[in-house]
């Protein structure tokens, strides 16, 4: 394994960038309409539990990647088989992120450019970054992710005059059910996706206990920032527009009076999406190299990326299908990968530890 270390602040920024990745364009809790904020809180708590579970697995199996943990717990053959399923899931997931990204750019900024060009150029850039090592990805995130905070603050401050602070009323207009559904969605997208970091945690350079603090801190920061954004979306757009709009953050940015700050959202998306996809590609390539005993994951990066770019172009017919999939199918598709298998891993690692 290459001897690369990630510092605490780098890991924090990587997680934040990862979580803001696709949420910068899609709004997972929008189906709860004016109770979206409630869904963020409930889903945030659920998601935090998931993240806690992943971190606990990492703490119980220090300096082991997901693949190694799976092999340890399930034996060589079953472990490798499950690892391959995970690799598929991660590649699929990065393809979806590519697609989100391309769909947004093509819909909003460059309607006449073929999507594969947009995605392809971006993918080439990410291949370069990931090939230079996870260290380069984490250092770049150190430079760029702080921009996300700046953008969020700029956008919300410049919209302060258009707020309608009563927009979240009435409470629970449609009952609790849609709220819970949206909360579940939010827990699996984006919080549950943190499981990918099980491939990255072994590079963490401090004591493993600090990992808990950093993960907790970054998840709390993310949930608070997202809660803030959701309130802002609600106050500015109102419940109906929030529910119907495809790219809420983009609409928000275009509503800023007297100036046109739409490209800020592009920047936001490129940074977040870049971090997210490069982590996914790294995780998939690394896992693949470990499953098949290939010494260097770099040999696989180009292949994995190419596959996921092709998949991203094939996977949906259009934008609406993508939104539908993200809301209806993705949460259930994720259950075994994000909840069931990690839970088994946690319990069996815990038993192995106590025995």
């Amino acid at each position: 394994m290459e001897n690369v270390k990630i510092s605490g602040i780098q890991l924090f920024l990587l997680i934040i960038g990862f979580l803001f990745g696709s949420t910068s364009i899609l709004t997972p809790v929008a189906s709860a309409k004016n109770d979206a904020w409630l869904a963020v809180i409930i889903g945030g708590l659920g998601g935090a539990c998931l993240v806690w579970m992943y971190v606990a697995i990492a703490v119980l199996n220090p300096s082991k990647t997901l693949v190694e943990i799976l092999r340890n717990r399930f034996g060589k053959y079953l472990g490798n088989a499950i690892a391959i399923l995970y690799i598929w899931y991660i590649v699929h997931f990065s393809a979806l992120t590519f697609r989100n990204f391309g769909e947004f750019i093509v819909t909003v900024t460059y309607p006449e450019t073929p999507m594969v060009v947009i995605i392809g150029i971006f993918a080439a850039l990410l291949v370069y970054a990931v090939n230079s090592g996870i260290e380069v990805v984490s250092r770049s995130s150190e430079l760029f992710v702080p921009l996300l905070f700046v953008i969020i603050i700029i956008i919300s401050l410049s919209l302060i005059t258009t707020h309608d602070f009563t927009a979240f009323l009435p409470l629970l207009e449609n009952g609790i059910k849609p709220v819970l559904h949206a909360a579940f969605e939010f827990a699996t997208f984006p919080l549950g996706e943190i499981f990918v970091f099980l491939m990255v945690f072994p590079h963490f350079n401090k004591k493993i206990n600090n990992l808990k603090k950093i993960a907790a801190f970054s998840v709390i920061i993310f949930i608070l920032l997202y809660l803030w954004s959701i309130f802002e979306y609600l106050f500015v757009l109102g419940k109906d527009l929030l529910y119907r709009a495809n790219f809420v953050p983009h609409i928000i940015a275009s509503l800023i009076p007297n100036s046109n700050l739409e490209p800020l959202i592009d920047i936001y998306l490129i940074i977040g999406g870049g971090v997210k996809i490069s982590i996914c590609i790294y995780a998939a390539a690394k896992a693949l190299s470990q499953v098949f005993g290939i010494s260097d994951y770099r040999k696989l990066v180009t292949a994995v990326t190419t596959f996921s770019v092709v998949l991203s172009v094939w996977v949906y017919e259009n934008l609406l299908e993508m939104v539908e999939f993200a809301q209806k199918v993705w949460p259930y598709y994720s259950i075994p990968f994000q909840i069931v298998i990690p839970l088994i891993l946690l319990l069996s690692s815990y038993r192995a530890k106590t025995d």
């Binding site: 602040i9 850039l125 230079s132 260290e135 490209p263 180009t302």
Partner: protein
């Protein structure tokens, strides 16, 4: 990936070259290697003449000295490299008069003549023994005067170096308003002296190397023992030792042969003409490399932040230094991105401009037949040509060219309808901004990258600009200079070292050396050096030297 491709290409080329197998110069050097001086003066002189040939500037003076003219010796030096008055008044006089008088009293014949000359008769401080022909030629060809005595297989090399060299002048490429005005010269000894005048600690170390099979150039590394990282010093030594070229004419040769990222556009080694800058770096724990025959010294490890630090930042008061540095960062960014922003916005994102400005820009561009990118390339390229011409031209014509270029071509191009007036403004500003960066190398890099970013911006708009910025950054964070990450205090992030990146903290606040460079002896000075007023009753407090922990 790019690295891989280039690496393969280079290794292929190298292979083709090495297949041809030709190295005449190794034969050339073979005849000196492992050859020692003999006791027979005639044989030695014969061999020397054979090797040096009969060049007119080689002076070989044989003489018989002593009371009875029984001692045979030869004095050898290169005319022009030696201080003639030193050779005549001290060396020759001592040999001819002093030896004669001593010989009359003590009869030197048959004793260790060479040793007695060296130890008691030669009024010159720097005298060395030479035993082999290799040492002999190294000394003589560097300006020493050699004395060979018949009957002794050891010669003397007397340091009589002295040649015409430039005076210490103000450095041309890095001038300041406030600060010392002396710059390095082409003479290595003068340069080490300039450095010694600033660093008087006995821990300053100078290590000498001779690099270049034919040029035998003196290269010296300078550092403060105890502060500089031993690993870095050892790495510098190792990389210098593996250089095996036939000549070194400038520090650029060394730079290219020892740098970490030979395929990158960014330079990972800092170069300067200012002794104060080199001294500052050495005080921080860096290692300086001085090369003979060039006023440019190298400094490693180097981080990108150094290219936006000018010497003057540290001499002006810190608020001024900080503000000017912010200005310089702005200049750096606009020299890289401004034309691309203009191209992207006028081509793809017109809605971003306020309506009034948009109207005036489109009015100005109305008659222009080209798209914005062609306009930008036309103007940028002509500006680059003008600049290059301005540098190469004889000095009196330079300003004339820049006036013709800047004013006349710019104005005429607008009138002729080739480019829009806003483009001229953008290009002119970009050109000026690229001069505000303190490192000339960095400004060249930015100029190169600018064209790439412009192409991307013309193809993909702001999205392309953003991708280019991310690509450049990803490349920069992957670079290292002698083990230190290139974007060091920013990524990997270190709050303490940021004191000297975007802003310049006051000197009383910079009590520690940069973490990744001066970690051997991290504490630079005490806390609480901030000046303040003390009343008579209150004595100036004596602070215990505290442990500064992070």
């Amino acid at each position: 990936m790019i690295r891989k491709v280039f690496g393969k290409l280079f290794s292929r080329l190298v292979k083709i070259e090495s297949d041809k197998k030709c190295d005449p110069e190794t034969n050339l050097l073979k005849d000196i290697e492992n050859l020692d001086l003999t006791a027979d003066l005639k044989a030695n002189l014969h061999r020397i003449k054979q090797i040096l040939g009969d060049s007119p500037d080689v002076v070989i003076r044989t003489c018989r000295i002593g009371w009875k003219q029984e001692i045979c010796l030869a004095v050898i030096h290169i005319d022009g490299l030696v201080d003639k008055s030193l050779v005549n008044d001290d060396v020759m006089k001592a040999l001819m008069l002093e030896v004669q008088m001593v010989d009359r009293k003590e009869n030197l014949k048959g004793k260790h003549i060479l040793e007695s000359i060296r130890d008691s008769m030669l009024p010159i401080s720097d005298v060395k023994n030479v035993k082999s022909f290799a040492d002999f030629f190294d000394s003589v060809l560097s300006g020493d005067t050699a004395i060979l005595v018949d009957g002794s297989d050891v010669g003397l090399a007397v340091s009589t170096r002295g040649w015409k060299s430039r005076n210490v002048e103000e450095p041309a490429s890095e001038s300041v308003v406030r600060g010392p005005r002396d710059g390095f010269t082409e003479n290595l000894r003068d340069n080490t002296a300039l450095l010694r005048r600033r660093i008087k600690t006995p821990h300053l170390r100078v290590e000498a190397y001779k690099i270049g099979k034919l040029s035998r150039t003196d290269v010296e590394i300078v550092y403060i023992k105890g502060i500089a990282d031993e690993k870095v010093i050892e790495e510098v030594r190792r990389r210098l030792r593996r250089i095996d070229v036939d000549h070194i004419l400038e520090s650029g040769y060394i730079e290219e042969l020892i740098e970490d990222a030979p395929l990158s556009l960014f330079s990972t080694i800092y170069r300067t003409e200012r002794p104060d800058k080199l001294a500052g770096g050495i005080f921080e724990g860096r290692v300086g490399i001085l090369i003979d025959n060039t006023p440019f010294a190298l400094l490693v490890p180097s981080v990108f932040a150094e290219w936006i630090q000018a010497a003057e930042d540290y001499y002006e008061r810190y608020p001024i230094g900080s503000l000017i540095r912010l200005l310089r960062i702005g200049a750096l960014l606009s020299s890289l991105l401004l034309p691309s922003f203009y191209v992207a916005i006028t081509t793809y994102h017109q809605e971003m401009l306020p309506t009034v400005l948009l109207l005036s820009i489109s009015a100005a561009r109305e008659g222009v037949p080209f798209p914005a990118i062609v306009e930008a390339f036309l103007m940028e390229l002509s500006f680059e040509v003008l600049r290059e011409a301005g540098i190469r031209l004889p000095r009196p014509i330079g300003p004339a060219i820049s006036i013709i270029g800047g004013v006349i071509i710019g104005d005429a191009a607008v009138r002729a309808g080739l480019v829009g007036a806003p483009m001229v403004v953008v290009v002119a500003f970009t050109g000026i901004a690229s001069y505000a960066i303190s490192g000339y190398t960095a400004s060249i890099t930015m100029r190169f990258l600018r064209f790439g970013v412009m192409v991307l911006s013309a193809v993909l708009g702001l999205y392309g600009v953003m991708l280019a910025v991310i690509a450049i950054t990803a490349h920069m964070v992957s670079l290292r200079s002698f083990g230190v990450p290139y974007l060091s205090p920013i990524a990997p992030f270190n709050v303490r070292d940021l004191k000297d990146v975007f802003l310049r903290a006051p000197w009383w606040a910079m009590f520690k050396r940069p973490r990744l460079i001066g970690h051997n002896e991290p504490i630079r000075q005490d806390y609480f050096l901030m000046p303040r007023y003390f009343t008579d009753e209150e004595d100036e407090p004596v602070h215990e030297r505290r442990d500064h922990d992070d």
